[in-house]
Amino acid sequence: MSAMTHLQFLESEAIYILRETAAQFQKPALLFSGGKDSIVMAWLARKAFYPSKLPFPLLHVDTGHNFPEAMTYRDWFVNEIGAKLTVGSVQKSIDDGKVQEEKGHNASRNKLQTVTLLDTIEENQYDACLGGGRRDEEKARAKERFFSHRDEFGQWDPKNQRPELWNIFNGRKHFGEHFRVFPLSNWTEMDIWQYIRQENIPLPSLYFSHQRKIIERHGQLLDASTGIIPLLDEEIPKVKEMTIRFRTVGDATCTGAVESTASTIDDIVAEVAAARQTERGTRADDKRSETAMEDRKKEGYF
């Protein structure tokens, strides 16, 4: 009898969840940010329905603050796996007066994404959104179910989640409610990287070591080369050319870089194994308060 490896187990579990989602909902969508987790999730979706095409579109909630490399990659990847892409635009939510842009030089559109996400869900009548969230990322995420119920306001009620037993997933809901589904719940950052290596999945170049103009702000290394993050006058002389890579790729205003010379997947696996900080340690959005993630998730964040 062949033994099963932990990556096989995780892959099979994720494929099972992806198929459950397609089967239990009328109109699901897969949230695709161009980050490694959503790339792995979309990769697994291709496997789950092969030789058919994906039975749901990819949905990108676009903050307008994207690294150009991430956008190039997104369009290439969508074409490569033969998927359809829907884009929800934060800029449009701002232009329509639905949200107010944060002020100040620490302004981020990360929080605004929630409004755009919920609007896009409602406009398209998506009843389930597949997210690449992992329980090892953050202490509130560690509490979330695979099938996570959202009320008609898109809110999560962490104190009152449905029991989720064995591998039976209950996607029943009332009209107007929806679900967030997390096929990668049980994956760790290391599992993601080992899987990317095993499957030879191409990634945006941002994940690999490169030279970049960087400004250090509150201990975070932020991009100073694209102009997405406005610099204060006194910061301009402090911009440095550094050898960095990104451990997570999201909205450019809150994604910090790490100094790194890791230029191959093997290098990255070794670096992740030795890391003393969580990957979200580079995310400004989590540092706003002790329960920042829980608070955002209650409102309907990813």
């Binding site: 099972y16 039976i168 029943r172 095993q198």
Partner: protein, 446 residues
């Protein structure tokens, strides 16, 4: 910082914590992660800062898993937290569950997928009702291995007599269970780390392994691997395309039954029976994205093609012809009731979810309730309230295809969903179809 395990060799152990409120479950998980160096600096810093803010006397390691605002405010666990760690020997998925009786449903959620349960006891309190409830649930869920962690040994001067008394009391209780797991007692202090990762000098009288040593080496065998071959149909893959696929050829007639093997092994050429029609056919191909497979093994996901045009879809079941499955619409099951605002009574109607099937169901009879402390079956009150456990008879609107839960945790389990709220209100474990259920009935003492 994750230990570099060899992805082609590492084995996975899923375990859960259980025991009464404040017995130290979350502290133990925090300690295990901390002493095995599985905590990141920023996580530890955050926990140190919160502990200081709260005025705790020491770094409160329970804050590593008690991540919700309400949990941190009250110092209790409300919902399961999943944590992950690895040593060079093994990868672990931990479910840290709440001890409070009100949140039993969350304990069952964490325990339903575990191979092993660590049941904690506060050495000062010994075996209490919640210890028995969680032990009973672990046994009902057929968790094959239990670590009896006698905790807070620091508060009883690491007294061997206290430990021995608790262990024998626990063993006496478990001897009365229908299914007795393998039990490994260990004296620990989660707070100080005694016998958690390293052997303690405080317990020279204890010669067994530390908790981590035991977790790294215990052999668990998922029974479904060796059991009868089961494949619940999850989704039918029909490309509706005239394209030619490099691996599968022309796709025009491709019809693959997609699912995850729920027991045993299938191979191309196997004679199978396909439910609901119970028609016989033969497996032609077993596919994944990587191509044609020689076999389909338990727990992995595949797509299968059959030799005949057979009508089955989601909710259907493919089994080996020589290993038939039960097909019935009336059966007896043990259930655990989760709803606080509603009770379960005869004539109650639900949606029943079993494998990939969703049917309507009615409770035709409440057979008995179990008294957790005495393990006695009682028929005094035939109504289930929050956290009650017992046996009911159910009829479904269409037959379902199942094994007894004791044979297969996947094809033997179901949940009941409330028709108004859509909440999952009960966990069910099938005993047997109604045909021979009457014998069981006769055994019940009234």
């Amino acid at each position: 910082m994750d230990v570099l395990v060899n992805p082609t060799e590492s084995s996975l152990l899923r375990f859960t914590t259980a025991g009464s409120v404040d017995d130290g479950k979350s502290t133990l998980i925090g300690r295990l992660l901390y002493d095995s160096k599985s905590i990141f600096e920023d996580q530890l810093l955050a926990v140190e800062e919160s502990s200081k803010r709260r005025g705790d006397a020491h770094v409160n390691l329970a804050l590593l898993t008690d991540g919700l605002r309400a949990e941190r405010e009250q110092g209790i666990t409300i919902d399961v937290a999943y944590r992950y760690f690895a040593t060079p020997k093994r990868k672990f998925i931990i479910a840290d569950t709440p001890g409070h009786i009100q949140y039993t449903r969350n304990m069952v959620t964490g325990a339903s997928t575990a191979d092993l349960a660590i049941i904690l006891i506060d050495a000062r309190l010994g075996v209490i009702e919640q210890t028995m409830r969680h032990t009973y649930l672990a046994s009902l869920l057929r968790i094959g291995h239990v670590v009896l962690a006698v905790n807070k040994m620091d508060l009883v001067n690491f007294d061997q007599a206290v430990y021995d008394r608790i262990v024998s009391e626990y063993m006496a209780f478990t001897a009365g269970l229908e299914y007795v797991p393998q039990i490994r007692p260990i004296p620990i202090s989660a707070l100080n780390g005694d016998n958690v990762v390293d052997h303690s000098t405080q317990t020279p009288w204890y010669e067994g392994p530390s908790l981590l040593e035991y977790l790294e080496t215990v052999q668990v065998k998922p029974e479904s691997v060796t059991g009868a071959a089961r494949f619940p149909v999850q989704w039918v893959i029909r490309p509706i395309s005239d394209q030619t696929d490099a691996k599968l050829g022309n796709l025009h007639d491709y019809r693959g039954f997609a699912g995850r093997v729920a027991g045993g092994t299938f191979r191309p050429g196997d004679e199978v029976v396909v439910h609901p029609s119970a028609m016989k056919s033969r497996i032609v191909g077993i596919h994944t994205f990587s191509g044609e497979e020689k076999e389909a093994i338990s727990q992995l996901s595949y797509s299968m093609t059959l030799a005949d045009e057979i009508d089955t879809s989601r909710g259907g079941m493919i089994v080996k012809a020589e290993e038939p499955i039960q097909s019935a619409h009336e059966f007896d099951a043990m259930i655990c009731w989760f709803a606080d605002k509603k009770t379960l009574k005869p004539r109650g109607k639900f949606h029943l979810r079993h494998t990939t099937n969703d049917v309507r169901a009615v409770v035709t009879e409440v057979l008995y309730k179990v008294n957790i402390s005495t393990l006695e079956k009682s028929q005094d009150v035939l109504e289930f309230g929050l956290n009650d456990i017992g046996c009911i008879r159910i009829r479904t609107s269409a037959p379902i295809f199942f094994d007894a839960y004791s044979e297969n945790r996947i094809t033997g389990s179901f949940v009941l969903v409330d028709e108004q709220t859509n909440n999952t209100v009960a966990a069910g474990m099938i005993l047997k179809p109604i045909a021979d259920a009457f014998e069981e009935d006769a055994e019940v003492s009234i």
